[in-house]
């Protein structure tokens, strides 16, 4: 095997190939690989962050729901007590009104009955006087026995 110019030519070709690979191939391919690596890592991190955010949001939503439920319960109970109060008040007012009406009716009745009694009494007195006059004829003087008659009427 003889060594000749081929060796020098090969060295020059080799140098050119190295230069081209170093300049135009290696950094680009490796750069793409590194970029992809970074992208995948970022994606995984984002996914993890998303999962964390999701669970956080879920727990927050749970909290909100719980709070809403307790508030709704409070509102409901408050409404119930208010309703009861209103009913109670209405009932009280109604009973008060009824009592008042009853009282006024009672007093009216009493008044009426008193009036009727008075009227009856007067009539009874005059009836009794008339009857007595019939029995005794003129013996009963209205004036002489006025005091007696009044006493009688008051007793009735």
């Amino acid at each position: 095997m003889n060594i000749n110019l081929t060796l020098v030519v090969q060295m020059m070709v080799f140098a050119i190939v190295i230069w081209v690979v170093m300049k135009f191939i290696w950094p680009i391919i490796l750069g793409a690989m590194n970029e992809r690596e970074a992208k995948i890592a970022a994606g995984l991190a984002a996914a993890e962050q998303g999962q964390k955010d999701l669970s956080e949001a879920k727990s927050r939503a749970d909290e909100v729901i719980k709070e809403a439920r307790t508030r709704a319960l409070a509102i409901e109970s408050q409404a119930r007590t208010q309703a009861n109060q209103i009913i109670e008040e209405a009932r009280k007012a109604a009973s008060l009104e009824g009592e008042k009406a009853l009282a006024s009716a009672k007093s009216q009745i009493e008044l009426e009955s008193n009036r009727a009694r008075d009227a009856l009494r007067g009539q009874v007195v005059s009836l009794a006087v008339a009857g007595a006059r019939r029995v005794l004829e003129k013996e009963i003087d209205q004036k002489a026995h006025g005091e007696l008659l009044d006493q009688l009427a008051a007793k009735l």
């Binding site: 095997m1 003889n2 080799f14 793409a32 690989m33 992208k39």
Partner: protein, 273 residues
Amino acid sequence: MAVENAGHAPSGSEYILHHLTNLTQGEGTSALHLDSVFFSVLLAVLFVGSFALVARKASVTKPGKFQLFVEVLVDFVDTQVRDSFQGTSKLVAPLALTIFCWVLLFNFMDLVPVDLLPKAGEAFGIHYMKVVPSTDLNITLGMSLTVFLLCMFYSVKIKGAWGFAKELLTHPFGPWMAPFNLLLNFIEHLARPVSLGLRLYGNLYAGEMIFLLLAVLGGSFALASVTGIGAVIGQLILGTVWGLFHILVIPLQAFIFMVLTIVYLAQAHETHH
């Protein structure tokens, strides 16, 4: 084999010698092996072209199948470089990738049937053709010498001319053994490119030789002897076995060349204290 054209059947040694002769232009040291240079450049264009195609259309989010294949190679080389080369260099990794892929392609030419391309060349009036560049000592030594020069360049660049000279004089046995150290380092540094080039050349040359011998074995069929059929079957079986074995040798030699280059350059970058 050019049996019919030549008028007489070439003997086995004639056939092998023919296949081991380069297509040469010129004489002596200014001679040029056109076939070696042609296939070397062709394979370089194949390597650089396909990789440049990938680099041009390199996609971060949607890599194609070929891009992924190239990335596997790049990642493999990158891992090798990072394992043995401490420090930063923009040259070492691309150099390693170039060596691995290019030498791999050189060596794979060995699996092309030994007569296929020379026969095709003969049809165009090219009578000598060696298709495996790594069976040409000029090619392998050309690469190993380039590596050697790079080692020298980086040794001087990193350590300074004085630092490198000091290392040559004092390493490994201390300043009192300076002449001996110098001799030892001289031999070591010179032996590296020679062994690097000869290893690849020897392995591939031997592989090619075996294929040629097997072709001669099968070619004895043309001598119309009774054992001709057996010889063809023998070439088929042995050729298959040797081809399968050679598939191991091909990437192994490319890998060894690459790893040794990385190691040598790593040592060139190292400073001894």
